[in-house]
Each structure stands twice: as structure tokens, then as C-alpha cells.
């Protein structure tokens, strides 16, 4: 038994944010049915299809797609065909929630707006998660996860004064929007459970980034001043820095959070003794040079260990390969290795929360396109084998991408 056993979600979303929201619900025990089109399939499989790509099973080789869709079942339905749409509405009548992140207007064009879903299931929850929210003058505007980071203002809080505003990620808005989406779904599902009422949820991915920028937003709100980009801005710490270490592009982040740690820090790194006063040492004009002169002599890993042994927050900059071999993550069985059709053995990241010592299991790897057509449409909706093969023949369902 899992926390959300008995809850069924229809996942129409694509890319990263929506599927991540649904992945959380799936990990927590909800039955998530991912619905794709063989023509307009999840764009995280690929932006475009070619005959060669289809022949070589390209749709099944996207590591990003596979990473974010585990523990789900997948069907295909052409929603712009009357029969495809009708089948989706039948599924909706058996579901607790529908999740979508189409561009503005698409749901309406498909005739699948909230009022229609509600007519088939009064209790249905519909989560829409557009970049700027579903209301307001920008409701139909487009964005990637990078655009969402732009619009949140967050880049103004990073970097040096002489720099442009500094971005943090290629698609910062997506994973944060995904977490907010999962929060939203759970909140509405709790209300549904208690009152048997459904509702729409309007999630703005840009507003989901505001908490991450809140230190700057609140500074303006409280003082009327724009925060200065470029000051070293440790939250409450007395020192924070990124220092070079032995090797190519190896760095150590050090943060001294309390004055009581200062002397230990100075002694541990053998810094000059005139730096040892906690009230003056952190402000010495040459402090950063002294520290860097010391850190360049040693590996980041060993410095991290030495400082951590003294209780000082120090971390080396991990590469992607480090994440796969990190001893903490390994000891926690964070990466769950599963065989997946076409691509073979793959690492799956565990949910970042646990209900005991063990991680929540990845029971099934990401489904292949339309893998569960028969199981879901035959099982849940009771379609016969003849009906399924008719749908297949007419291209309403399928298990291979088709060119537009």
C-alpha cells in the first residue's frame, strides 16, 4: 500500500515540468496514465521525427524522457480525432485529476477544457501549468524553462556588478514548476477527498521561481532599494567563497556560518595568524588571496574532508559523473538501476523523500510509446481486442511515432 493508492491521474503533459509533477505522484503511489499522440508525441522524445529516427527507435532513446516518466503507464490517443477524444473523456470519468501543459488555447481547440471534463466527471481536478499562469494578459505567452528564469528576475541577483544578469541553468523553471505542480495536485486531491469537489488549478511557473528570488524581492519590498548585484551576498554567514584547487576546473566552496568557526578555519588551513580574529579576519583585504594560495596546493576532495571534519561547510564542485558515483548517494541506493526497453540498464534517481530508510522503489522504468494501450483501454475501459485493432488500423492508437 502506498500513500496515494487508489488515485488515478491522466497525464497529458510533455517535456519536463508536467511529467515531473506526475512522476512525484506516481512515486507516491498514484496510478499515472500518460497519454501521448503518435504524431505529436512528448517533445522530450525529440523535437522532430524523421523516417530514420523512427526506424532506429529514436523515440525510446531519450534519456531525459526516460528519467522523468518512470512508474507510469503510457497510452496513445489522437485527441484531434473524435474517437480519440471520446476515449480520453471516458478515461477522465475514471480519474481523479488531469494534468496538462499545452500552449495556450490548445486544450480548448481539442474541446477538452475544464467545463467539458467536468461534464464527464464532476469531481475532476484539472491542473494547467502555463509559464505565466492561466489568467492575465500573458496567459497565452510562450516560454521555455530559461524564459521563466528570465521573467522571474532571479538573474539580477547573481554575478558581479560588471556582468550581465547571470542565469543559473538551461531550464531552471521546469523542475521547480514540476515540484509546484505536484504540490498543487496533492492540495486539490485532499480537498476532493474531503468534499467530493473538483476544481481547476492555475499554476504560474514564473511565480514558482519567486521563492528562489525571495531574498531579492523582499529586499526591495522592505527597503525600496534594488539589491546590488555582485556584492558577495552570504545570507548571514561571515565568509563565503569559491576557491581554486588542484586539477582542471576543480573548486571548493567554503562558507563560515558562525564566528565561533573562524579560528578553527584559520588554523585548519594554516592561514597567517593575523587573520585569526573573528571580528577582523573575515574583512582582511587580502583574505581571499591567502585562502586561494592555500587551496590551490591541494585537491578539493581532501580539503572538503579536512574542513568537514572540523564542522565547516565546505563542498567541492561536483561534475555530472561525480553524482553517479557519490558515496552518500550510493550508500542510500539513490540511483535505482533498471532495465529499460531499447536502451538497457539505466540509473533512475530516487524520490528525494523517504517514508523509512529505503528509497521509494522505481517499480517500472519509463513506458514505451503506447506500451499500455491494451492494458488500459482494454482493462480499465473494457474495449475488446477487435475494437483495439480497429483503433490501431485507423491510427487512433499506435505504438510507433508517425510523421505529420
Amino acid at each position: 500500500m502506498s500513500p496515494l493508492s487508489g488515485i488515478r491521474i491522466i497525464d497529458l503533459s510533455m517535456g519536463w515540468a508536467g511529467p515531473l509533477a506526475c512522476r512525484h505522484l506516481a512515486d507516491l503511489g498514484a496510478e499515472v496514465i500518460k497519454v501521448e499522440s503518435c504524431i505529436r508525441f512528448d517533445w522530450w522524445r525529440s523535437w522532430e521525427a524523421t523516417p530514420e529516427w523512427i526506424d532506429q527507435d529514436g523515440a525510446e532513446k531519450s534519456t531525459s524522457f526516460n528519467m522523468v516518466n518512470r512508474n507510469k503507464r503510457a497510452i496513445t490517443l489522437e485527441l484531434d480525432q473524435a474517437d480519440g477524444r471520446a476515449l480520453l473523456l471516458r478515461l477522465v470519468s475514471h480519474a481523479n485529476a488531469v494534468v496538462e501543459n499545452f500552449s495556450g488555447g490548445v486544450l480548448k481547440k481539442l474541446g477538452l477544457e475544464y467545463e467539458t471534463l467536468r461534464a464527464h466527471n464532476e469531481q475532476i481536478v484539472l491542473l494547467s501549468m502555463p509559464p505565466f499562469g492561466a489568467s492575465g494578459p500573458w496567459a497565452d505567452f510562450r516560454a521555455y524553462g530559461s524564459t521563466v528564469e528570465h521573467a522571474s528576475g532571479l538573474p539580477h541577483l547573481n554575478g558581479q556588478p560588471e556582468d550581465l544578469p547571470v542565469m543559473q541553468h538551461v531550464a531552471l523553471g521546469d523542475p521547480v514548476g514540476g515540484i509546484a505542480g505536484a504540490q498543487a495536485l496533492l492540495t486539490a486531491l485532499r480537498h476532493q477527498r474531503r468534499t467530493e469537489q473538483g476544481q481547476q488549478i492555475d499554476l504560474s511557473q514564473t511565480e514558482a521561481l519567486f521563492p528562489l528570488a525571495s531574498h531579492g524581492i523582499l529586499e526591495f519590498s522592505a527597503t525600496g532599494r534594488e539589491p546590488d548585484r555582485g556584492r558577495d551576498r552570504p545570507n548571514t554567514s561571515i565568509h563565503q567563497g569559491v576557491y581554486p584547487c588542484q586539477g582542471h576546473d576543480e573548486w571548493l566552496v567554503i562558507e563560515i556560518t558562525r564566528p565561533t568557526e573562524w579560528l578553527t578555519f584559520v588554523e585548519t588551513l594554516n592561514l597567517p595568524s593575523h587573520l585569526s580574529q573573528p571580528d577582523t579576519g573575515p574583512h582582511h583585504p587580502d583574505l581571499r588571496t591567502y585562502i586561494a594560495d592555500r587551496t590551490t596546493l591541494e585537491s578539493a576532495a581532501s580539503l572538503m574532508e579536512t574542513l568537514q571534519r572540523q564542522g565547516i561547510a565546505a563542498a567541492r564542485t561536483f561534475s555530472y559523473s561525480d553524482l553517479l558515483t557519490d558515496p552518500h548517494l550510493a550508500a542510500r541506493d539513490f540511483w535505482q538501476w533498471k532495465d529499460r526497453a531499447v536502451v538497457g540498464r539505466q540509473p533512475n534517481p530516487s524520490a528525494p523523500y523517504r517514508f523509512g530508510a529505503a528509497p521509494i522503489p522505481v517499480n517500472t522504468p519509463a513506458p514505451t510509446l503506447g506500451e499500455h494501450n491494451a492494458e488500459v483501454l482494454g482493462g480499465l475501459l473494457g474495449l475488446s481486442a477487435d475494437e483495439l485493432s480497429d483503433l490501431n488500423a485507423r491510427g487512433i492508437i499506435g505504438s510507433r511515432p508517425r510523421l505529420r
Binding site: S135, A151, M167, A314, Y353
Partner: protein, 371 residues
């Protein structure tokens, strides 16, 4: 556009849920805030000196001592109770009736009461490691990609890791409470969330991608995140413009908007990778073109052409943008007779909306209520 329901039902989605916070970190406070803003009863069980979030900058100009704006944001619609002033019975009753207690020390909570620990790392080899929001950006693999190519990398500012951890921790917390109501879960469960693992949400696709491709590129410079190009933040005549151009049709429209038509059909420039290879040629031209144009005007023109450009607003500009104003994206957190604007909940249940802003409790304001 989704119509807003004109008559929301009385009651909020999380009415009847009771959360007690003993941790008082930014992470636990944000987790609790999401509950409180949706109608749960959230009780900050504070020491005499108050939670450490009360000491976090930035500070408002009101209250004595001045109220932390960060604490105000994190504490709307919560109750503050002084732990030391509660009688033993009152304290035991309060804990006993909680659906969930947020704590770093679950052993202090009776076995039949569910707890949630939001730790930097969780049990394991790093369990006792010291960490901060900044060090977790080093450890989740993001920092190596941020900043100038020659280094050092630039640390993202603020409490970002804790906000990600707090939002993430809401998921097992509410799933557990809902699971108990559905008969799927039993009280007395020990939940935990690792902020380190929550922060891997940003880099898990890249890590899995690395497993398959062996590819991990060196940092290329500020706002360079291959293979997307052009990508970045550019100065315009009236402010900053965020640019992301990915598909051939977006490139076409972008060239048209910037009056660089002669590059629209160059075969190499039809792919993001090709444009990135030629970025030394393209970048100065984009910069020159944008310097004289209006970011505001370009944003609307680009969106009309389905190109995802956006203004990159300063903090002050955020409060003036129509889109955010029309959605009440910022609302007043009130304290005594004063108030400060804080971000609203990013997700809106239309039938049972969240509180927008709300009262911030004084230290111990609700102690009597729980005696």
C-alpha cells in the same frame, strides 16, 4: 484563459490539518507556509529566542526589533507558540494532536505521531556534514556551469536550496496525511527529505545523460548553457531582455525582429549547435541590434511571433508588471499595523484559493490559545 470562479466555496483545501514546526529553518518554514496559506493550522513551536528565521535579512522598518521580511514571508497565517511557556500537558496535547511534526529530532516526538525531518543530506555518509544553500549548489553539479569560463564559478544567492527542499518536503508530508485519511497510511510514520537529493532535480537529466553519452562540457561562460543558442540576457534601450531561440522557425522570426534577415536562412544557423559554434560572430551582432531596441516592445512582438523572449525585470519592476499585478502575485503580509508585499502561492486552486498574504504572528502570540 481559465475563468476565475466568482464564488469560491467557504473553507480551504487543507482545513482540519494541523502541523507543528519544531525545526524553524527556511526549509521547514516554507513547507509549513504552503500548508498555512491553504488553510491548515500551522503552529511554530518556538524557543524563547524565537526561530532563527526571525534573524534573517532583509529586515523591514517596523517592529521592535525590526521584523525580518524573510520571516514575515515564511510565516503568514501561522500561529506562534512559545514552547517553554506551555504546560507539560498542553505541550503533550499539542504534539499528540498534530497530523505531522516538522523536526530534526524525531526521537523527541512520541512514536504514534508522524514526523518529517528536512535535512541537508539525510542518513548516510554525509549525515553529519555541514552545509549551506551555497555548498549544495556545488554538490548538485550546477555550480560548475555558472559564471565565466575561466572561473571561479558564480554562486547563486539566497536560500534557494532550502526553498526547493521545503517545497519538495510538502509532497511526502501531504501525501502521508492524505494517505492516512484514505486508510493507506498509519500515524507514527517517520518521513524524511534530503535537501541535497531535492536539489538534484536540476541536474538529474544531465547526470543520466552523462551515463549514456559520456558527455560533460566545460563551463563556457556567463549565460552559456549548450546546446541552446542564442540564450542569455541582453541590455536593451529600456532594460534587460531574456532571449531563448531553439527551433528554426524561432530563429527566422528572431532574425526578422532584429533586422538581421540575411542570417535567417544560413544553413549552419538552422540548428542551435550550429549557432553556438558561430556564437563569436552572432553574439556581437545581437548585442548591437538589441542595444538600441526596446525590450518591452520586442517582448510583445516576439511573443506575437511565438518566440519566447521575456523582459528580465529588476526587483522593483517585478511589482509593476501587469501580468503579476493582475494575478495578485504579490500580496500583503501584515504585522501589527504595518505590512510588506510578499510573493503569493504560485499555484491557485480556483475553487478553494489560498490566502493572499496574511497576518504574521508576534513571537508567542498564540501561546495562551494552546494552554
Amino acid at each position: 484563459m481559465i475563468p476565475v470562479m466568482s464564488k469560491p466555496d467557504p473553507g480551504q483545501a487543507l482545513n482540519g490539518i494541523r502541523i507543528v514546526d519544531l525545526s524553524g529553518t527556511v526549509a521547514s518554514a516554507y513547507c509549513g507556509k504552503c500548508f498555512a496559506d491553504y488553510g491548515a493550522e500551522v503552529i511554530d513551536l518556538e524557543p524563547d529566542t524565537g526561530f532563527s528565521t526571525r534573524q534573517l535579512p532583509p529586515f523591514t522598518r517596523f517592529g521592535d526589533p525590526p521584523l525580518s521580511a524573510m520571516h514575515a514571508y515564511l510565516s503568514t497565517n501561522k500561529h506562534s507558540v512559545l514552547k517553554e511557556e506551555l504546560t507539560e500537558t498542553a505541550l503533550a496535547t499539542l504534539i499528540d494532536r498534530a497530523d505531522l511534526v516538522l523536526t530534526h529530532d524525531p526521537n523527541q516526538v512520541p512514536a504514534h505521531v508522524s514526523t518529517l525531518s528536512i535535512d541537508w543530506f539525510g542518513p548516510g555518509p554525509y549525515a553529519d556534514h555541514a552545509a549551506t544553500d551555497a555548498t549544495l549548489f556545488a554538490m548538485n553539479g550546477m555550480l560548475k556551469k555558472i559564471g565565466p569560463a575561466e572561473g571561479p564559478p558564480y554562486l547563486p544567492t539566497g536560500y534557494q536550496a532550502q526553498f526547493v527542499g521545503g517545497a519538495t518536503a510538502y509532497l511526502p508530508a501531504l501525501a502521508h496525511i492524505l494517505g492516512c485519511e484514505m486508510g493507506n497510511e498509519t500515524r507514527g510514520t517517520r518521513l524524511n527529505t534530503s535537501i541535497f537529493e531535492a536539489m538534484l532535480c536540476f541536474t538529474e537529466p544531465a547526470a543520466v545523460g552523462f551515463f549514456n553519452s559520456g558527455l560533460d562540457m566545460d563551463r563556457m561562460g556567463i549565460n552559456r548553457f549548450p546546446p541552446t543558442y542564442p540564450l542569455g540576457v541582453f541590455p536593451c534601450a529600456d532594460g534587460w531582455l531574456g532571449v531563448t531561440v531553439l527551433t528554426p522557425s524561432q530563429w527566422h522570426s528572431f532574425c526578422h525582429l532584429l533586422d538581421m534577415e540575411e542570417w535567417a536562412d544560413v544553413p549552419l544557423f538552422q540548428s542551435s549547435v550550429g549557432r553556438l559554434e558561430a556564437s563569436d560572430l552572432i553574439e556581437p551582432r545581437i548585442r548591437e541590434a538589441l542595444a538600441t531596441l526596446s525590450a518591452e516592445a520586442l517582448f510583445y512582438k516576439a511573443q506575437a511571433a511565438r518566440v519566447p523572449l521575456a523582459r528580465v525585470p529588476t526587483m522593483g519592476e517585478l511589482f509593476e508588471i501587469d501580468q503579476f499585478k493582475s494575478r495578485s502575485a504579490f500580496a500583503h503580509a501584515t504585522f501589527d499595523q504595518s505590512s510588506i508585499k510578499v510573493p503569493s502561492m504560485p499555484f491557485r486552486l480556483l475553487r478553494t484559493p489560498p490566502h493572499f498574504g496574511g497576518p504574521v504572528p508576534r513571537l508567542g502570540e498564540h501561546t495562551e490559545q494552546y494552554q
